[in-house]
Amino acid sequence: MGKTLAEKVWDAHIVHQASGEPDLLFIDLHLVHEVTSPQAFDGLRAANRKVRRPDLTLLTEDHNVPTQDIDKPIADLVSRAQVDALRNNAKEFGLKIFSLGSIDQGIVHVVGPQLGLTQPGMTVVCGDSHTSTHGAFGALAFGIGTSEVEHVLATQTLPLKPFKTMAITVNGKLPQGSTAKDIILAVIAKISTGGGQGYVLEYRGEAIRALSMEGRMTICNMSIEAGARAGMIAPDETTFEYIKGRPHAPVEKDWDDAISYWKTLKTDDDAKFDAEVIIDASTLTPFVTWGTNPGQGVSIDGVVPDPNSFTNPTEKTAAERALVYMDLKAGTKMRDIKVDTVFLGSCTNGRIEDLRVAAAILKDKKVASSVRMMVVPGSAKVAIQAEHEGLPAIFKAAGADWRSAGCSMCLGMNPDKLKPGERAASTSNRNFEGRQGPGGRTHLVSPLVAAATAITGHLSTPDEIK
């Protein structure tokens, strides 16, 4: 029997295998940020261990960093101490770091791909659940906890129990106005926040093939929101074209060898998935969330559901609770929901294509007076590219706030937060209670919906903008 893509990548990284034990897998790339690593470095020091492969490790500052006044010391002293700890650890252990102010600084999941460090067939880990993003290249990429960060630093391996595999087949063509974000929000609504537990998801089908690398990253990024540690897409010409010429892309003979290998990285015709979900892209409309987990989403043309419409008692209770927290009434049209804040950014939708489509809608328009819009590029390089294309000028002319790169309001670890009771349309990945600031309310949306919503002040699609 043939193998799935995930199985091929897994098998190519087995260092040690024995019955009754997890497989020991080699890790090709370890990305590290300031929040989930200080205790891991402390662990190394306590045990007098070194970083085994500094050449396969990369540090960047993203979660804590401010998105304005980045030329000044970080005002929040606790954040500053954590960022300093990362810088000191880089120095002590001889690791590459992209600090605030560096041209290569940015959100860890934007930085890896833009440097060409993320390549097909690799194993990629990071102490961050959105590491699944890198699966868009046909890499096996997943988030780990701090104990595992320490383990990878010390050994460049991880003991892991094999995942099951699930095919997410997205057939047909996406209608105009629907995006990769709408595909993944629809997938999560369909299989729920726990549906992917224990699985690696492989996204396939015509609609996935048609996506750019950035769209594919948006999809794989939110695999964790469906409970799956990893999501993957088989590499193809789109992938190779994206990687070619990037700073860490292979060159000359290595490029030819890499391409020959990468072309073998697809699920064999006779391979079997443990589960399969099929979605028709041609029926997808923009999706938005109404509740407090990413599975609580509907079409923007829909209404806030009645908790009584859920047959599962757990889902019913969760919906009741979510409506109280979100201050929403069942039956309200999603398009009638007014927001105070629009956040465009994050490792889900903070790349150049996201900024381009939003700027195209905001050009010569104004952000509603009742709304503050914050635009945060995913990396310094994305910001520079945006400058080159004149996008910040468009955002600023519309009345939006153009910031420096970082995770920002996606999780509100820096000063970019919602105030209690504020409601946001956000291109990020989590609508958990308080995620964007204590008491804040989040509706997850695509960049297109974010831009249109900024103009009208209520959840909207671009076709509403005259």
Partner: protein, 195 residues
């Protein structure tokens, strides 16, 4: 890591599903660079409500958290496990866990025992009526006992062994160091390096 064989203590009934790690510990508290001292941040937002179950004096000394399905979803922050342990929890009971949270628990020494939602419902009812009920979680027998309720729980066999022996993963892996070195020699030259 301390060995875990069996634990007896009172329980906290948390009647909520999809308890994500942002609820267990908000991002604001992840700025600390220590591995301990997170007990004040546990369920921070919910704790502001005096009616929240964690604030009730009858559950003050609970060491077994009994939660709804999809416990620990979202962020990979191991701080969620540390906050639970720092507060005094030794065991979580739920019918479904998020993968990363469950993995982190096993590494840090928090037992995540999986039982059916039906058992969770029964334990909730019992400890809501009698908050001082002592619950025993026996890792050797893979069994949870609460009053008349006796149930087997699921846990990965390897994780169970590691918890019972109190073993350090890095030490276990380094037994295979020569294999790691061998593997490294076979890696193709086109794979990227950061330095």
């Amino acid at each position: 890591m301390e060995k875990f064989v069996t634990h007896t203590g009172s329980a906290l009934p948390l009647r909520r599903s999809n308890v994500d790690t942002d609820q267990i510990i908000p991002a604001e508290y992840l700025k600390r660079i220590t591995r301990h001292g997170f007990e004040d941040a546990l369920f921070k937002a919910w704790r502001e409500d005096p009616e929240f179950v964690l604030n009730k004096p009858e559950y003050k000394n609970a060491t077994v958290l009994v939660a709804g399905p999809e416990f620990g979803t979202g962020s990979s922050r191991e701080h969620a496990v540390w906050a639970l342990m720092d507060y005094g929890f030794k065991v979580v009971l739920s019918s479904r866990y998020a993968d990363i949270f469950r993995g982190n628990s096993g590494k840090a020494g928090l037992l995540t025992a999986e039982v059916s939602q039906d058992i969770i419902d029964k334990i909730w009812s019992l400890v809501e009526k009698q908050p001082n009920t002592q619950i025993t979680v026996d890792l050797e027998k893979k069994q949870v006992t609460a009053g008349d309720i006796v149930a087997q729980f699921q846990i990965d066999d390897y994780v169970r062994w590691r918890l019972m022996e109190g073993l350090d993963d890095i030490g276990l892996t380094l037994r295979h160091e020569s294999k790691i070195t061998e593997f490294e020699k076979s890696r193709p030259s086109f794979k990227p390096a950061t330095l």
